[in-house]
Symmetry: C2
Subunit: 382 residues, 2 copies
């Protein structure tokens, strides 16, 4: 899950001559949805037979939450008017569509069977829905964070790429990751003695515990110490050289989370790591964000005096179908991220199901980049 102060939201784009600055040319999708909602929903309902209509019977479980203000109305099978989230129905009635200034001109849509939760925390809109073919889905501010069908790829890779690259990790810090999936993966490592997590949004933790028990199982590990708070502040106050590994499960670097991709934050991370300690941070898509990645690599190269590497993996429900990771180590014992030294002893965590995605081969393969990206990244990393 990509967490912490998400700022993306669902948008319809006005393409003008100022496309280089999409943030200036956006109409929030909620406005558009309100405009469109009544006629296409009615037309769609008429076009569907009763079975189809029942599959799109969107109920709003929490009448009291503020998200209702942005919701559009939708007519159901039996003629009732129910409220639906702003990111639904503007595309295909009964489907969720993900759009963001971070990936203009494209959208990925999932068919919604039922909305299970809708709320507004102090930081973001939180939605959980049952999809037709991807299991339950967690959405923050209009952006998919995880689906039951493919969460294994992200959670396993962001965790085991760093932890399998060092011998005997003992103290691990997770920034973000409030669904508990990264904790579930860290818990597979028998050497780990302490897992600190700093997540800003308690609603995400609560929602995950309620709707994603196979993900939130990570919170049940006795080694976990959960702090609800700001990850940037937490890191500033962390004792110097105290962690073997830091995993940053962050949102995109526009808006409030921007500082998590800049030098001062990386300096805090480097300070909190022991010599030869490692960090793994969510680092966007090679296909969509090479300019951002180039900057992150440059910043990391300045700050981390050990290894600086970029890895990527397949996650179907993330934009462009991939997500990248920035892996760095501090000065000290050498870390060769491409050749893992610390295989997982899956038997150490009896409550866990076997790994679905990660293995030692796919670990090494994740560092092999397409030529268009390799040239740029290697020129900055070395």
């Amino acid at each position: 899950m990509k967490l912490i102060q998400r700022i993306s939201t669902a948008y319809i784009f006005r393409f003008t001559s100022h496309q280089n600055n999409p943030a200036k040319t956006l109409i929030p999708l909620s406005h558009f949805t309100r405009f469109l909602s009544s006629s296409p929903s009615r037309a769609a309902a008429a076009a569907m037979d009763a079975k189809e209509a029942s599959a799109t019977d969107l109920k709003r479980p929490r009448e009291e939450d503020d998200a209702a203000a942005a919701a559009a109305s939708m007519e159901t099978e039996n003629g009732d008017q129910t409220k639906e989230p702003a990111c639904f129905s503007s595309v295909i009635p009964g489907w969720f569509s993900e759009m963001s200034p971070m990936w203009p001109g494209e959208a990925h849509s999932l068919k919604v069977e039922k909305v299970l939760f809708q709320g507004k925390s102090d930081y973001q809109d939180v939605i959980v829905f049952q999809s037709a073919t991807y299991g339950k889905v967690l959405v923050l501010d209009g952006v998919i964070q995880l689906t039951e069908r493919d969460e294994c790829a992200y959670q396993e890779m962001i965790t085991h790429l760093p932890l399998c690259s060092i011998p005997n990790p003992k103290k691990v810090l997770v920034i973000g990751g409030g669904d508990g999936g990264v904790l579930r993966e860290v818990a597979r490592h028998a050497s780990v003695e302490q897992i600190d997590m700093c997540e800003i949004d308690k609603m995400v933790v609560d929602v995950s515990k309620q709707f994603f028990p196979n993900v939130a199982i990570g919170f049940e590990d006795p080694r976990v110490n959960l702090v609800i708070g700001d990850g940037v502040a937490f890191l500033k106050n962390a004792a110097e050289g105290s962690y073997d590994a830091v995993i940053v499960d962050s949102s995109d670097p526009i808006g409030p989370a921007k500082e998590l991709f800049e030098k001062p934050f990386f300096q805090s991370v480097a300070r909190a790591l022991r010599p030869g300690g490692v960090v793994c941070t969510q680092a966007e898509s090679l296909w969509l964000h090479m300019d951002i990645i180039e900057d992150i690599v440059s910043n990391c190269r300045e700050i981390f005096k050990g290894s600086v590497n970029y890895a990527w993996t397949s996650v179907p429900t993330y934009p462009s179908g991939v997500i990248g990771f920035m892996l760095c180590s501090t000065e000290g014992p050498d870390v060769d991220f491409k050749n893992p030294v610390n295989p997982i002893d899956d038997s150490s965590s009896k409550s866990n199901a076997p790994l679905k995605f990660y293995n030692a081969e796919i670990h090494s393969a994740a560092f092999c980049l397409p030529s268009f990206a390799k040239k740029v990244i290697e020129s900055k990393a070395n």
Copy 2:
């Protein structure tokens, strides 16, 4: 490009209790679009300012083609009624959305700047449009075949995975691939003396030459011998043991292309290959089609007495963001697909731009599979 007798088309799903057999519960999207087209398009036009409306000014370039029968009407900025392709406007007006029974419950959408071509060949509906952020896009029967932004990944991998795995390939057969992109890649290999291509649909070749000159450049190589015809029949008539490599750029294995994934076709391929010759065939998505892949691997293991391997790569505009390849060799000199022996001498093809995606590292990495797929595939392949 995934070609040859495409049978997928754009659909809206009726989810019934028979979800296990989606093919029985589909409504063609064109029907749905006709129903919806007028009201959301009007609402959308009203919601947009003049600049937005001009960006969605969809013109139908060929008044005479039969696809018009399935097209819906759309009101443009100046109030004109123009026809639009069936797969547009049912989702967001002015956006193209891809849906298929091969990936139920999800859709990927691209914003359309302008429709450049719309036609109906003897085999399929053919559309070319200018997208907002993925360059020009080729669509056959509602399914994206290539975009200018990411075609490099598919074309380079389906070609160089087989050709870089054998020394000095001389005679190569391409089945499908009518856009010319695979030819462009084969032409990089200086050892190649003859490139036969059998493509069933001449319209695809013509459209590619008109709209995708950087892809269709492959046809300009003097070693190319293009045959318009049925690839299955072509292979049956091919001389035994005549090819070093066969590349099958096929469509999905439901409907008419089904036989391209079954034993008799693979037997024809094996017969046409020299001892130790190689085949690479498009083999769907690990995330979506493990059942199909399992069958393909079983069939190939029976027929190809050399190596049988599965590889995959990232292509953002293909469903789930990945595409797989089945790589097999016939009995004879050993082929170790995971360790390429024949690097590309890029200088051999002066008309070609440098490789964008493929390199020797990403070649080997493509054979590293996630654990959920590795178990299934290795149990069938060995």
